[in-house]
Symmetry: C2
Subunit: 251 residues, 2 copies
């Protein structure tokens, strides 16, 4: 048996998310079905670094699968990509990780990017990959609000009420807001995230950007330690799971 | 009657191109149908700066329509966008141009961008917006080949045999090749282009990038003034009509 670390890209539209669900097709299901083809048809389990929600994209998800024999990693990548056609999931790289490597628990940093299309007209070119906010957002105010969230905090106000993590405490390493023309780019990095944490942060900063909230209210919301104090959840479309870091690097 | 200049974005997938065709839906048809709704149902003709091919995208196409009355440009933009739903076409801006303005003939510069995804795995996130080339391309060699094409030349070797332009002579103002990770970005600018000119140039530079052609053969192909001497036509997916310039600016 050989353990393979996979670097995976997918278009979240049309999937119910990473994890298997009864109500639709998941990324995990597509990957596991392709892996089973390399296992004589017997089931193969895939473990991922993060369970992205329905509609959320990935440019750098990572996963672990175990296959019989000792196929070279590049052969495994090519074979999985062949069998995953025409689904919008591809393995970018495959590698043989250290014996104790776990895609989820070995991760030392994760990075997400959220895109807001901030203009009157709805998206034609980027439909499904951005949150369309027609009214002008003040990115300087959003950045001011964001500063209150960076660091080691209890993020109860920004996690889904259904979040199953034992602790609501996380360390946000960075949270950057920048504008590139009509697009506002939010870059978020942490060792790990709570369920809906990025989307709840973005939904809250949007309130600051449109002037509904003063930037300081972000600090008040954080201190309240209550989901009711945080802003709404931004839609999944704008979110992309960009990178998972390991020490040492796997790929 | 009021003349409106429109700045238009569209996703070329699913369209037979800008121009009306009998075999499918065109961008022109979607725009003209929406404009007719603002004209009591009577037909409205739209003239564009460039007739993009099937599958080619636009971030900055321009067009002219004439409507009765004197609706403010922003009202026209909003009304057209409302009526064009759910097609992947939107008016980004509307403006009232000078009386003698023509979107095609008044243009002083046009800019196209072509994206090549240069990696083993097929695209999952950017399907339909890139040309997938699995084998490594040498962008320095491509840039060397490109230098032979910049300037005032007879581009017979790089225009579609069906091209209806009277003269094959054009001035290519710039042709830049750069790499951003797995993506190769080709930026091309000229006052005007011949039919398939950008795609034929990209298809040729790909031969140079993969090593099938020495860079100098691009000069030989250009000098031959024969379509048979040029490289193949790159697929439409990677091409986006970025910008049309006017003096003075309209938008």
């Amino acid at each position: 048996m050989t353990r393979y670390a996979l670097l995976i890209e997918y278009d979240g539209r049309g999937f119910v998310g990473w994890q298997r669900q009864v109500n639709g097709i998941s990324v995990q299901q597509v990957l596991e079905a392709a892996a089973a083809r390399l296992n004589g048809g017997a089931p193969v389990a895939a473990i991922a670094a993060g369970r992205t929600d329905a509609g959320v994209h990935a440019a750098g998800q990572t996963a672990l699968i175990v296959l019989p024999g000792d196929l070279p990693p590049n052969r495994v990548r090519e074979a999985l990509n062949f069998h995953m056609k025409p689904h919008a999931v591809v393995v970018l790289q495959a590698a043989i990780p250290p014996d104790d490597w776990n895609p989820r628990f070995s991760a030392t940093r994760r990075r997400y990017r959220y895109l807001i299309l901030n203009r009157r007209a709805r998206p034609a070119l980027h439909e499904g990959f951005v949150w369309h906010v027609p009214n002008p957002l003040d990115t300087a105010a959003m950045a001011e609000g964001a500063r209150h969230l960076v660091g080691h905090h209890d993020f109860t106000s920004f996690r889904a009420s259904s979040c199953q993590a034992k602790s609501p405490i996380r360390t946000l390493d960075h949270l950057e807001i920048r504008r590139d023309g009509e697009t506002i780019i939010v870059e978020v990095g942490a060792r790990s995230f709570l369920h809906h944490q990025v989307r709840n942060i973005v939904g809250t900063l949007k309130l600051v950007g449109e002037g509904s909230w003063p930037a300081a209210r972000v600090a008040t919301a954080l201190a309240a330690r209550s989901r009711a104090a945080g802003g709404p959840t931004a839609p999944p479309d704008g979110l992309c799971f960009m990178h998972v870091g390991y020490d040492p690097d796997i790929f």
